[in-house]
């Protein structure tokens, strides 16, 4: 119910001391402003980092061999060994929690070596990966032309290649259609069947993703004489299974199959994407918690300021309150009056702070996206709607709390004392 007299009194009280009202409100304004700006900036950092890992399967693990560090089963320490093709089936059969297995292999040459890929008079040094189609579900790329590898390519060991957009730029003329053309990789011709652009930039195996070439895993093994050697495994867990579970199981199995000491931590290297992802998430969680602590602290200072001023307002209005009570105002009416005033001031100041902060974040966001660069340490600073609503609720509640003590003080004054107060 709108009560004109109540609001008349509130505005009269606020107008009476404009400077004081302004400074008090500014405390809350600043508190919420800082909170939102900090939350938004934290979100901006987070967006930038997570954007760099966008679409990467976070429940994945990566395993590769390394010389053993313990003698076992008659073998000396320092033995070198390789994963083999039959490990793929063994892993799939023994560990039902596994979703995808992508054995991988990199051809010799590549980014740091001399030019390994030739087309006519154009040459380039690119990373050449032997892959299964599953790889595109673990670290997806965006196909801009043609298709990615499929299982028939694997089965028939086709000499086909999917190339990054930079590979196309270097090996082809601008107006040339790359699909169906042949490129020579380490002396063997491959037909180009697709062109891709990278989706994420923060995770990369072997140089700039745009300079990668994918060929079928089986083709790579046969063409370049790797036999049944697997370079490394990328494995994902089923949606409801933690990557750590398959990590432990896969390591155990591979150690048994390759006669590695069960406690040899060196022999299988790799990492757990889930753990890495959780670390990053944890970092941002930490930042957010810190922001809330600092933000709420600042806000609290503002609210205490309001409470303080309300105490002074009550003191100044002691006589007025006395008159009102003599005329029949109940204590409830007085309390409601003072709390409404406090909530109003807090909410108004807070809302302004909120709007101003969101406005500023929006400007920064626009400016950033207008500058248009892809790799930024800061992206899309924003506050989600829930946080804004939460902040507003915190404000209203804290405004009520700020008014509570002064209101009780006002009611405690006996009407007679209030009237005597000159």
């Amino acid at each position: 119910m709108f009560d004109l007299d109540k609001w008349q009194e509130i505005f009269a009280a606020l107008r009476k001391n404009k400077m004081r009202t302004f400074l008090t409100a500014f405390g809350v304004f600043w508190g919420i402003f800082m909170l939102i700006i900090m939350l938004g900036s934290g979100k901006g950092l987070q967006n930038a980092v997570f954007d760099g890992m966008k679409d990467f399967a976070t429940n994945s693990i990566f395993l590769m061999t390394s010389p053993t560090s313990e003698p076992y089963a008659g073998f000396p320490r320092g033995r070198r060994y390789n994963f083999r093709n039959d490990d793929i089936e063994a892993l799939r059969n023994a560990i039902p929690e596994i979703d995808l297995i992508a054995p991988r292999m990199q051809a010799r040459g590549g980014s740091s070596a001399t030019d390994n890929v030739v087309r006519g008079i154009k040459t380039g040094a690119f990373t050449v990966n032997g892959d299964y189609p599953e790889w595109n579900m673990i670290d997806p790329v965006k196909m801009v032309n043609g298709r990615f590898l499929n299982h028939l390519d694997i089965l028939h060991k086709r000499k086909v290649a999917v190339i990054g957009n930079l590979v196309q730029e270097i090996l082809f003329e601008e107006d040339e259609e790359p699909l169906g053309q042949y490129i020579r990789i380490n002396g063997v011709y491959f037909q180009v069947i697709g062109v891709f652009t990278p989706l994420n930039s923060n995770i990369s195996f072997g140089g700039d993703k745009a300079q990668n070439i994918f060929i079928p895993f089986t083709t790579l093994q046969q063409t370049y004489n790797y036999g049944d050697v697997v370079g490394w495994f990328a494995i994902t867990a089923k949606p409801d299974v933690s990557a750590s579970v398959i990590d432990a199981k896969a390591r155990d199995l591979l150690k048994r199959r390759h006669r590695v000491a069960p406690h040899d931590e060196q022999a299988i290297q790799g990492w757990n994407m889930e753990e890495e992802f959780n670390k990053v998430s944890g970092l941002f969680m930490g930042i957010e918690v810190l922001v809330w602590i600092v933000g709420i602290g600042t806000l609290l200072a503002g609210v205490i300021g309001i409470s303080n001023i309300m105490l002074i307002v009550v003191k100044e209005r002691t006589k007025e309150i006395g008159i009102q009570r003599a005329l029949g105002a109940t204590p409830r009416k007085i309390i409601s009056q003072i709390i409404t005033e406090s909530v109003f001031l807090t909410t108004l100041a807070g809302y302004l702070g909120l709007s101003f902060a969101v406005f500023l974040l929006e400007i920064i966001s626009r400016a950033l996206s207008a500058s248009g660069t892809e790799d930024m340490a800061f992206k899309n600073p924003e506050v989600d709607f829930n946080i804004a609503v939460t902040a507003l609720l915190i404000l209203i509640v804290s405004g009520a709390l700020a008014g509570l003590m002064p209101a009780q003080r006002a009611v405690k004054i006996k009407p007679i004392d209030a009237l005597r107060d000159e």
Binding site: L4, D5, Q8, I323, L327, T330
Partner: protein, 234 residues
Amino acid sequence: MIQLKNIHKSYQMGNNSLHVLKGIDFSVEPGEMVSIMGSSGSGKSTLLNILGILDNYDQGEYMLDNKIIKTLSETKAALLRNEYIGFVFQSFNLISFKNAMENVALPLYYKGVSRKKRNKTALEYLEKVGLLDWAEHMPNEMSGGQKQRVAIARSLIANPKIILADEPTGALDSTTSYEVMDILKSINEEGITVLIVTHEEDISRMTKRVIKLKDGLIEADYIPEAMEEFATVN
């Protein structure tokens, strides 16, 4: 209307207790116009506060309209004040940010009367005290006499049974004092009980009964001369 039996009241001043009222007995019938006189410190303001349910008393019995008034909650006291008593103060005590009409309407606001209705009623009462043209003026634009008339209109609007006036003419010159007293008298003639605390003889002489306090006790309770003369002339 009002019955007081052996009312005692003391104030705690640090370690000392100040015994202000030492057993007050009197009763007021409906429609009386009584002035309570006494020098400062005689306890007249304290008595008025007790009568106005603004303050508690320690001992005795206070009956207002046959109801015992004792240890009420603040909320109940507020409702009783609103229903029975209209206050007129020495320093007018108008709310500075409300205009005359809104000030008059205030008791009805606390009663929960709608704004439209209470402002209409307020205008009627302002007309009664001759200030209809000043309805939209703020208190700081009015003279002392006008303010007091607004205050009287405010005290009347909730249809109280009793008007309690604490030195209503204390801040006014004698001409305006008499004007204010005339208004209070006419109110009394309508049947409302009026109690006036004053220390001015000429004011008390305009009432129908004078109760004189001294050191917390009733020193005298009499009909003033002017009234006697008035009575004899009639």
